[in-house]
């Protein structure tokens, strides 16, 4: 894992003290809320329905046990004993007091954490593949590049006031576990015909009010040109992105309006100039960063045999454990989606337990996933049973990864000031309704957003749900056919919306339709793509 150097620590410490003074001035009446709001947002502090909410960055979703324990400590000392892991691999605390926020940031800084780039029209926290450095299908570890982006983008003077927020994801495998095509910029390390590794660059994806799947604007970017090309992409957006209309300000609108080819041409033109400025990281600096992500010292000669005699363990093993690149190791995904639970929420005790398990069994590493789960990336197969037993004893062994119960849901109207409808109660009802049948249904990604901003990724769900406000009453639109993976697609609305119970029933009818139409090995999404909307619509609306 990356370790701060003196510059990293100095800027984070300085930011804490700067914010402490800004809070003091706000509480003393020296600055107004209009003046203070952009300052607190730059430090991840929002005002939500019930209290201030602090969003803490977890760069590319990677952290160690000490950092994880700090997250538990913050939950216990400053919040109400829990945190909410988000769809951008961050964590949010829902019950923060303004005058304690600087102390929280100061404590986070002691373990190299902060809340910078978790709000505002800047380049947000970089996200990545939660299996990075462990995945069996990886071409190259994307995290050094994500870290380079973090350093390049932090307080970048030119890109601190972009037309709108800007989200970048980086992966290094063919399987897309980070939804790169639904980001402002998605980067995929891949090998070209000459056997060289470089980046495929997607620009202009996103969800929200106007969902779009990003086109490729460059199929192969040499690694040596990485930062200068990123700079050119951002410069074109910063210059031509619309600032007159917040709903048209994201880069996806610019790319869509001028066309991917024209945007790519402008980037190339800008890049020809930017390349001469010496912005690309010196090889020595990149190697310094990359050294922090060198593969850990995996033990050799380990057995791949796993005792499957405990049937409950075997179910979890088949569902939540993935292939690792090192023999004798496996990747464990801890589902934060117990039946009837709140997606993404974890108590301070659970966070501590996951930290303990990481320290003891996963070479001191954890990852947060955009699907609001937690990963232990390097677990010896011989330790899997012990890990499962510890998780099971703490309500963390739900064997439902990528099943219908593994629901992505935003906080919705229970917490969020922007929401139009609640997401969590719906997730709870759906997970309860399908608890007994979810394994038979196979991979079925269900995603719920409580408003059009789509924090719950409803456009990208095999089944998506969008909560809307219909004259003060919650109403839910149903979408089918979305995907955030390498086969990215946007869901289509089935028809008129439903009330809370109605949408659960409608999902059951859609699922029953899938069961009756599926062929051997077909996922829900495959069947939908083969037969189209009509039979599902017929079943849902009769």
């Amino acid at each position: 894992m990356y370790k701060y150097d003196e510059y990293d620590q100095a800027i984070v410490d300085a930011r804490v003290e700067e914010f402490r003074d800004q809070v003091r001035r706000r509480l003393a009446g020296e600055i107004s809320e209009d003046q203070f709001k952009p300052l607190r947002l730059m430090n991840g502090l929002y005002l939500q329905l019930h209290a201030y909410m602090l969003r803490v960055a977890i760069p590319y979703g990677t952290l160690n046990a000490t950092q994880m324990r700090m997250l538990a400590h913050v939950a216990r000392k400053y919040d109400k004993g829990y945190g909410h892991f988000t769809t951008r691999q961050n964590i949010q605390y829902n019950w923060i007091k303004l005058d304690e926020a600087p102390d929280i940031l100061a404590e986070l800084a002691t373990v190299e954490m902060h809340a910078i780039q978790t709000s505002g029209n800047c380049i947000r926290n970089i996200s990545s593949d939660q299996f990075a450095g462990a995945a069996a299908d990886e071409v190259e570890d994307p995290r050094p590049w994500a870290e380079l982006l973090r350093q390049w983008s932090t307080f970048h003077p030119e890109f601190t006031y972009l037309p709108r927020k800007f989200k970048i994801a980086v992966i290094g495998a063919e399987e897309d576990r980070a939804a790169v095509k639904l980001h402002d910029i998605g980067l995929q390390l891949h090998r070209n015909d000459a056997g060289e590794v470089g980046f495929r660059v997607f620009v202009g994806g996103g969800m929200g009010r106007t969902p779009m799947v990003a086109p490729v604007i460059r199929d192969f970017l040499p690694k040596a040109d990485f930062l200068s090309y990123m700079e050119a992409c951002l410069r074109v957006y910063n210059r031509y992105g619309r600032r007159d209309n917040i709903y048209k300000a994201r880069i996806k609108i610019l790319v869509h309006e001028i066309g991917a080819a024209e945007y790519a041409r402008q980037v190339e033109e800008e890049w020809a100039h930017v390349k001469t400025l010496g912005l690309d990281a010196p090889a020595a600096e990149f190697e310094r960063i990359a050294a922090f992500f060198a593969p850990p010292a995996f033990e050799t000669g380990l057995s791949d045999t796993i005792d499957r005699s405990d049937p409950d363990f075997a179910v979890w093993l088949d569902q939540n454990v993935s292939a690792h690149k090192a023999p004798g190791y496996a990747v464990v995904t801890i589902s934060l989606k117990p039946t009837g639970g709140i997606p993404g929420d974890a108590t301070a005790d659970q966070i501590d337990l996951m930290a303990d398990l990481a320290e003891r069994y996963s070479l001191d590493e954890l990852r947060i996933t955009h699907a609001q789960n937690v990963v232990l990336p390097h677990v010896r197969k011989a330790d899997l049973y012990a890990v499962w037993q510890a998780l099971d004893a703490s309500g963390l062994a739900a064997p439902n990864l990528d099943l219908i119960g593994d629901i992505i849901a935003c906080p919705g109207l229970d917490y969020c000031a922007l929401a139009n409808a609640r997401s969590i109660p719906l997730a709870q009802k759906i997970s309860q309704r399908f608890a007994a049948t979810q394994h038979d249904l196979g991979e079925l990604k269900l995603k719920i957003s409580g408003c059009i901003n789509a924090c719950g990724h409803h456009h990208a769900g095999h089944i998506g749900i969008l909560g809307v406000d219909r004259k003060g009453v919650e109403n839910y639109q149903l979408l089918l056919g979305g995907s955030a993976a390498e086969d990215a697609s946007l869901g289509r609305i089935t028809g008129p919306g439903f009330d809370e119970d109605g949408v659960v029933d409608a999902i059951e009818r859609a699922v029953d339709t899938y069961r009756s139409l599926r062929t051997e090995g077909e996922r829900f999404l495959d069947t939908y793509r083969r037969v189209g909307m009509a039979p599902f619509k017929e079943a849902i609306y009769g």
Partner: protein
């Protein structure tokens, strides 16, 4: 009736204008009639509230009930965490919100 609500500047708590100050309990909220704007300006300037705004509500047997579900959730707490409700022991809370 019109209620005035906002968040406590320092704690972020949801608060309601109760006639002679702010309360965390909507049952103590009073009708501010046409005075919401003036009150909001005075209280915000005094840093006793953050982001005050007026809402429509109806008077019921248990006190005021906001017209919009968002403000009912603000008044009661998250519907999915009864333990974190403003009045955790209130068994009728869910019905009141929905």
């Amino acid at each position: 009736m019109k209620l005035l609500t906002g968040n406590d500047l320092a704690t972020g708590d949801v608060i309601w204008w109760a006639g002679d100050g702010w309360s965390r309990h909507i049952a103590e909220a009073v009708d501010v009639g046409p005075h919401a704007e003036t009150l909001a300006a005075v209280e915000e300037a005094a840093r006793r509230v953050n982001g005050p705004y007026a809402i429509d509500a109806t008077q019921g047997p248990e006190g005021p009930r906001p017209a919009h579900i968002k403000d009912r959730i603000r008044a009661a707490g998250p519907t999915v965490r009864a333990d974190l409700a403003i009045r955790p022991a209130d068994a009728n809370r869910g019905e009141w919100v929905i």
